[in-house]
Symmetry: C2
Subunit: 310 residues, 2 copies
């Protein structure tokens, strides 16, 4: 039985200062809260984390700070996919050396309409550049943002060349049919498929998904965890209905700013709303509407231990 | 009269080793050859240069090597647009400190469907982060690859806030109507518009373009220079016809690999064909066809001084 990290993972939000630096204390407090409030693990520097909006040095430093602060690296996947091969190698080596559970790696996303041969060359060069058997590399499939994507034949080829190392995929296609095919084709062979759309959580778990890595796990991990651990029972469908209603609300707002607005409210720290350019904070005028719609949808407002906010 | 760099600029190819490092000697020899063979200047680390496929450290080092080797930084634009604001600031500061004529800056290209407000915030933060009156920033508009683009209102706003600093644009939209509108709206106000499509060179010069920054200037700068300096005379149209025919040939091949194959042939250095992943060299099987079609189209094969190759 593989010991690879599975379950509910949040692509953890990154707190930033008014001067667009990573706010270390706020970010690490959020990591710790998530790990104590429903998350089996975290994705550090995913899309929801604004990962690509920070330099390699900024990314290395935060990861080291997290481990120094006592966060177990075996609970962490790290986003390491950059446009420059040397950057991806550096970040991936660093994550493995520090003991992280795995890396979630975007395809190089500057050039478009790339060939499978070119993408294979990139990933082969990355894996061989890192050259470490402990590497667990997860493919980060997110065509709505990266545009570049992983075809089924490319996935087959990567698994065949690097069995055990190429360990899974996060599917942010937003297309259930695609997620379903990924699970049916690859999951039985020990390749872990993590859907990103929490609306498909229950259906995906029932056919063999490894868990879920969804942006909204930053504020809803407890409920996702309940579904993850109890998907066999009928009541899970009731919980899934709540998840779906809440998701509908999020669809009406820019996702990452909305999540940061919720954390800002939970913690009573308005600076949590800060975004790294080119993304912008949720406008003040939209906050009340978001909060009200979430409550109406049955949103389980996150709270700090010993401090109810609603 | 502004002393800003204008004319025919090549987004200079970057030679890479078999191990995906920048080959310094080959690259600098190419820079020197271009500046002696029709180019008024170079764009270092543009799209054709595979600029985003190299790390910040690799990019800084090559630029320093170029200046150390005696290349006049006042002949250089530098590509500095990254996804991470801190990377763009670092590269832009470095280019200004080293004395480069300007920077050509992509919008942050990871997230898509960005607001003009978010892009303005990014560029304002970049310009204020660099904080140097010598900065000449050119916008790198290349929606077919970056997807994120510069709207006319955003350009207006950037010019209004940073007059003289926001100095121009390279238009790689591939849409003549867009290029025409850019020139007509902005060129008279001292904002330099460089089309990327050499098929529009003559037409663009006649209405006020500042020159041309096209990938194929790596192999055709002499001819482009002839049109640039003689666009008022009737014969320019004959030269433009040749340019157009050659462009048609390039449309049938992956552009950057084809350009590297031509330089490899000219120099008799087969390693010039190397590409940085995820791009791949032109397949051997396609080389002869490319070369034959170029010759048939009237391509003026580039040559090293004192060494004719055809």
């Amino acid at each position: 039985m593989s010991t690879n990290l599975r379950g509910i993972l949040a692509p953890a939000l990154t707190a930033v200062t008014d001067n667009f630096q990573i706010h270390k204390e706020r970010t690490l407090a959020h990591f710790e809260w998530l790990l104590g409030d429903g998350c089996d693990g975290l994705l550090v520097f995913g899309t929801t984390s604004e990962g690509n909006s920070f330099s390699v040095a900024e990314r290395r430093r935060l990861l080291e700070d997290a481990v120094d602060a006592g966060i177990n690296p075996q609970k962490l996947f790290v986003g390491t996919g950059c446009c420059a091969l040397s950057d991806s190698i550096e970040l991936t080596k660093h994550a493995v050396q520090i003991g992280c559970a795995g890396v979630l790696t975007l395809p190089p996303f500057y050039y478009k309409e790339l060939s499978d041969d070119g993408l294979f060359q990139y990933f082969a060069s990355l894996i061989e550049g890192v050259s470490n058997d402990r590497l667990r590399l997860y493919l980060y499939h997110i065509p709505p943002i990266a545009v570049v994507h992983f075809s089924f034949p490319l996935i087959e080829r990567l698994i065949a060349h690097y069995p055990g190392v190429v360990a899974g995929i996060k599917d942010s296609s937003g297309d259930w049919e695609h997620t379903r095919q990924l699970i049916e084709r690859f999951a039985k062979r020990g390749f872990d498929v993590f859907p990103a759309d929490e609306c498909t959580l229950l259906a995906a778990l029932r056919i063999g998904a490894a868990g879920c890595i969804s942006g909204t796990a930053n504020v809803s991990a407890r409920l996702f965890q309940t579904i993850y651990t109890s998907w066999q029972i009928a009541e899970a469908e009731v919980w899934q209905t709540v998840v779906n209603k809440v998701r509908q609300v999020f669809l009406g707002y820019p996702r990452i700013p909305a999540l940061k607005a919720i954390i800002a409210r939970m913690r009573g720290e308005s600076a949590w709303k800060n975004m790294q350019p080119p993304l912008l904070p949720l406008p003040e005028s939209e906050r009340a509407g978001l909060f009200e719609q979430l409550t109406d949808a049955g949103f389980d407002w996150p709270a700090l231990r010993g401090r109810e906010l609603l």
